[in-house]
Amino acid sequence: MNREKSFNIIRTLFSMVAAILVAFIIIVMVSKNPFESIQIFLLKPLTSKRYIGNIIEAAIPLIFSGLSISLLFRTGLFNLGGEGVFYFSGIIGSILAIWLKLPPILLPLACFTASAIAGTAVMLVPGILRAKYNANEMVTSLMMNSIVLGIGSYILNNILRDPSVANLVSYKYNSDALLPVILKGTRVHAGFLIALLCAALVYVYIYKTRSGYEIRVTGTNPKFAQYSGINVTKVIIMVHVLAGAIAGVGGMVECLGLHRRFEWTGLPGYGFDGCMIAMLANNNPFGVVGASLFVGYLRVGADLVNRSADVPTEMIAILQSLIILLISAEKLLKKYRQRWIEKDVKEVNHEVAS
């Protein structure tokens, strides 16, 4: 493992610790009995099976969006469309989950397929525009978010909406579609396994396959990729397809895992979370899992403080934005990094000398 890598890890740890410290500061400022609150925030999430379950529940969607975004980031694409994909694929999948008649295993699979396709379709718009015409994917994907939200809520209002319920939700899902709980006494559902599977697959894909290689190379230097005979256009489209499919499945998993009907009335925010996760993980698939669990832990902690003490949940937003700022801060702690790299260069020369 080289300095560059270990440096990134240190910067990540630094950011995590900083986030927790800031949490302390906030709690101390607003809480009537800070110490109890801090205790709740830090320890309570780990005290019971159920809370640990909550952490995992919270992590599941983050893993999916994290994986999706990390693929895009790796290719040097700033596509923020995960947001819309989660929502829209949820809608499309829900249509099947409500009306399709299939045996237990097959029905969820069908839903996932549908949502994956929907996700891909949504992602492909910025994807193709970028790959073929070099249109700024950041803007186009943001546009797509709002567009699919509009279309989605139109579908929800006019097709899926359950009139017997006072607020805007879809009909109940066919119970065969729901994902089974895999940990007694919690709500950790099969989606977690799917998430882990995805992470593993993405890992193999990125580091062991040709097209993964193409993605990595294109990400670090597209000119070099082109020069080497890699079809960059194809790679970019490919990445968008994968990212769309993963985020799409993620959206559906969240719906079928934790809800009994489609309940999002706006963009769920997982897309932007994904950016944070991808950065925490430095785009490493297994890192994504870890990062998601960490953020899940923070959130459950914040929820508990909010529920059983007097600190509003929204504290979490402050922590998260801090994490993003710190981790993506290239130049943070750069002095130490400098020293290291210089040291390396010297080492090399020594080895040569001897």
């Binding site: 319920v165 309940e263 003490a309």
Partner: protein, 366 residues
């Protein structure tokens, strides 16, 4: 408010927990003969949403103080935000703390409630405002007859319009959803009692939080010549009231007595609110908790509570007095009497289909 009262409730909570852990069965015992000592009767309120909606979450929150003062019992609450995936965990937390009764409000948490009710069959739940269909055996549902209070609001609006020599009244809903259209239907029918061929201009903000858009909707209706608007749109409704101020027109509030709530901070807004269609959630809560303590709640069923039970009504306050003429107010109370002793015929809005709503709505569209 909740914030300041929290810490000590926390302390007592923990005390309670440790104690009750010491003697499980003793607490079960006390459940049977609660009347004699109410002090250790513990109620929790689970709020599946955010406080500050100036609507029924706040209304529900207000019942806490009432219960404490009237019954001298301990009431804790949990605000679990708008992310419905968190409700279940919130419920489990409460169930683990073995309260005698868990209150909740609104249909947001229905699915979580159904699930938890099955998992904790011993635990009793009451939803203070819901329309749930399949009701678990240990859950009691109160569904206020919203259309009755809106019926009166409609009458009020129509009377005001008549006084101004107009033939159209307005309605701004948060979203085009059953929960809101229920209000609309009652509103229309009430108005028709005063003026059979009244027109009702209905508009939906498309969001319960975009107050600016709410104001735009209000302004558009007022500009189109409407003088009274019934704002059933949560936060966005505030926008409508603001529009009324800007255009020197009138509005009717919803859920809680908004004129009362606004009169200190925003007097000029309070001054345009003729009345508000209120759900008297605190009263309902008091009524039902009393029953619960006396063990005569028919769990597993749903009870409809209307004007008769004082569960719903319209705000009768200084502004109402000021903004609506003596005679008109009398007409309203007569109408109210009719409703109470069941002479008035009001469409039952429970499970009204989208088509039915559309026909009713289009019939009166200007």
């Amino acid at each position: 408010t909740g914030c300041s009262s929290q810490p000590n409730t926390n302390d007592t909570q923990n005390a309670q927990n440790t104690e009750s852990n010491k003697s499980e069965e003793s607490t079960n015992a006390t459940n049977t003969n609660t009347e004699n000592d109410t002090s250790d009767y513990k109620v929790a309120l689970m709020i599946p949403g955010n406080l500050g909606d100036k609507s029924f979450f706040d209304a529900a929150f207000n019942s806490i103080e009432l219960l404490k003062s009237e019954l001298g019992i301990q009431v804790d609450y949990v605000e679990s935000g708008s992310d419905s995936s968190k409700y279940y965990s919130a419920y489990v937390d409460l169930c683990e703390k073995n309260y005698d009764l868990i209150l909740t409000v609104s249909s947001n948490g229905d699915d979580a409630l159904t699930q938890i009710a099955e998992e904790y069959p011993e635990q009793k739940f009451i939803n203070l405002d819901d329309t749930m269909e399949e009701i678990p055996a240990n859950v009691y549902i109160i569904s206020p007859k919203n259309n009755e209070m809106c019926y009166l609001s409609g009458a009020v609006a129509a009377l005001k319009a008549k006084e101004l020599g107009e033939n159209t009244i307005g309605f701004v809903g948060g979203m085009d959803i059953p929960g809101i259209n229920e209000f609309l239907v009652g509103y229309i029918e009430g108005a028709q009692q005063i003026n059979p061929d009244i027109k009702v201009a209905a508009s939906y903000v498309g969001s319960f939080t975009d107050t600016a858009k709410g104001k735009e909707n209000g302004l558009l209706l007022y500009n189109s010549g409407v003088s009274v608007i019934f704002a059933a749109a949560g936060q966005s409704g505030l926008g409508v009231i603001d529009a009324a101020v800007a255009k020197e027109k009138f509005a009717i509030g919803v859920d809680s007595d908004q004129a009362e709530a606004l009169k200190e901070a925003q007097p000029d807004m309070a001054n345009v609110i003729i009345t508000s269609a209120i759900k008297n959630i605190p009263q309902t809560a008091l009524m039902i908790v009393k029953k619960a303590m006396a063990d005569d709640v028919a769990y597993g069923t749903k009870g409809f509570y209307g004007l008769k039970d004082g569960a719903v009504g319209i705000a009768n306050n200084e502004f109402y007095q000021k903004l609506l003429s003596e005679s008109d107010r009398n007409t309203v109370s007569e109408l109210q009497a009719k409703v109470v002793n069941g002479e008035a015929t009001i469409t039952d809005t429970a499970g009204l289909t989208t088509e039915q709503v559309n026909t009713i709505r289009d019939a009166v569209r200007p």
